[in-house]
Subunit: 307 residues, 2 copies
């Protein structure tokens, strides 16, 4: 098994595409023909919602797996259908990995000690099931919130080291109010810069042959000036970059997230790709094809950055 | 339906007990007779783990529901058994509410915009299920992490207002490394004090007749000096206080979390109550009885504070 930072870097290079497709399957936007099929089988139930999500996601994954290295399911859009939704989350991860995509679970989990360990085991590692270590969600990486400090991170880095998995720690989020806490001055730095120094430390023992750590950072596309500073503070971190497209970030905005040689970041687009059929005014049946076209276009846009 | 802050305050006063029992059903510590019954039915599977958790929790709830106002299931210990574990989480909430306990889901969820809304709907409100608003976990309150600022909180407070639910926002956690971020100086305050002022603002429109807001705060028992300051900064917040017992916090330590009249906090104990049978050296079959005894003892200890 390969080191997560190496594996992700290798896949990005091989596909020449630093893109991750966000699988945020908002039920209201899933094509009606998919939902009707699920409702016919299960009625208007959570099971039908889960079934529709799984079919929709499989269509997207099939359409992009050969051109996009990774996918990022946002667990909130699965959790909102209860345990049936979580089953859809599990099946989505399994299917994406079968199609050789890396899976970054966007869960923003956080807690301390043995509770954080339970999350790390659930999302990345093995749960103790009556004495037998057993994988649960088994994503390749997961996003984590740093508010509780080292106690909340070490249980995740431990699993990363043992199971060759990765985490992306929230440093600077892409939303307008991220400044309220992340932009507070702490000494002569901002809070996000201070946290960047912590992240750099947390990831130091997990640096692979590529020079990148399995401990990455979430850095929003919407704060390019800040991204430049953060890039310097975290040279060995792969940045997971949200906020491109629907949230207003452009290729020019995400450029400071990359090293000068074009490595070190993976840019997320969710709605802009998976629901591209709506924006393009295409028939629902062409949703997967439209997603592939949008993914190709994003690849081209990002590719221009370093030409 | 009553306002959450009022309802919790009323229940605490009625039972004269500011205690919440944490339902952290670590499988390894659940009595063997319960696990064997579940394994006999489902084999050594996630379903068996879920079944064992449900039976264990029901025993605890039955034993304490008439003396303890609320319970706090820690979702990490359910999530680690995948969708089967989440089903156990759902059934635990439903059962506790049937027994008239308030349920605080300890999920520490956090995200922005429509993603935070999906979490708020999943945990507290109604999910749009094919156009029909449908409750999912339907807890009475949930814990939330503030790192993303207002954008990450408003979707929760919106649901609190509409559905008479509550949130507890992490301000000062009980773990040793909470100082790393929460204890950083921001201007002439520490970060947790600054966040306390945000929390006070976020909860201002949701203050009930009791004087308490449905937006509460998590304030660990292990920082009593800090708790004193936080109590002044957040007069209208109910504090959810972890760290009592197993983590070293005493009745004396939690006292600054309360107002002088003894209102305004609810103190959590998890392992110290639900696995009391182990510490007391009692037979497994007496686990529920031992939990009741430990809960009674905690009630007495806390009761002495204001005598």
């Amino acid at each position: 098994m390969l080191h997560f930072g190496d594996l992700l870097t290798e896949k990005i290079e091989k596909m020449n595409n630093p893109t991750v497709v966000g699988l945020d399957p908002r039920l209201a936007q899933i094509p009606v023909f998919i939902k009707n099929k699920a409702i016919k089988k299960y009625g208007e139930s959570f099971e039908a919602a889960a079934e529709a999500i799984i079919e929709f996601n499989k269509g997207i994954i099939d359409a992009v797996a050969d051109i996009v290295p990774a996918t990022k399911p946002q667990i909130a859009f699965y959790e909102c259908f209860g345990h049936a939704g979580i089953r859809a989350y599990e099946e989505t991860i399994t299917y994406a990995q079968k199609k050789e995509m890396l899976v970054i679970g966007d869960a923003k989990r956080n807690d301390i000690g043995s509770t954080a360990a339970a999350y790390a085991e659930a999302h990345l590692g093995m749960t103790d099931l009556f004495g037998k270590p057993t994988p649960v969600f088994n994503a390749d990486a997961v996003t984590v919130t740093p508010y509780l400090g080292t106690d909340g991170i070490v249980p995740f880095t431990k699993v990363c080291g043992e199971q060759h998995k990765g985490i992306f720690i929230l440093v600077r989020t892409s939303n307008p109010s991220s400044d309220e806490i992340q932009g507070q001055p702490v000494g002569d730095q901002l809070m996000d810069e201070y946290i960047a120094t912590l992240v750099e430390g947390w990831g130091r023992d997990l640096i692979g042959k590529s020079g990148f750590s399995s401990v990455g950072a979430v850095v929003g596309a919407t704060y390019p000036e800040e991204a430049k500073l953060l890039r310097n503070l975290m040279p060995n971190q792969i940045f997971l970059v949200p906020g491109f497209g629907a949230q207003g970030g452009t290729a020019e905005d995400v450029k400071p997230c990359f090293h000068k040689n074009g490595s070190g970041s993976i840019v997320n687009s969710s709605r802009g790709i998976i629901f591209a059929y709506q924006k393009a005014g295409k028939p629902e049946e062409a949703y997967a094809e439209a997603a592939r076209e949008a993914a190709m276009k994003m690849k081209e846009e990002l590719g221009k950055m370093f030409k």
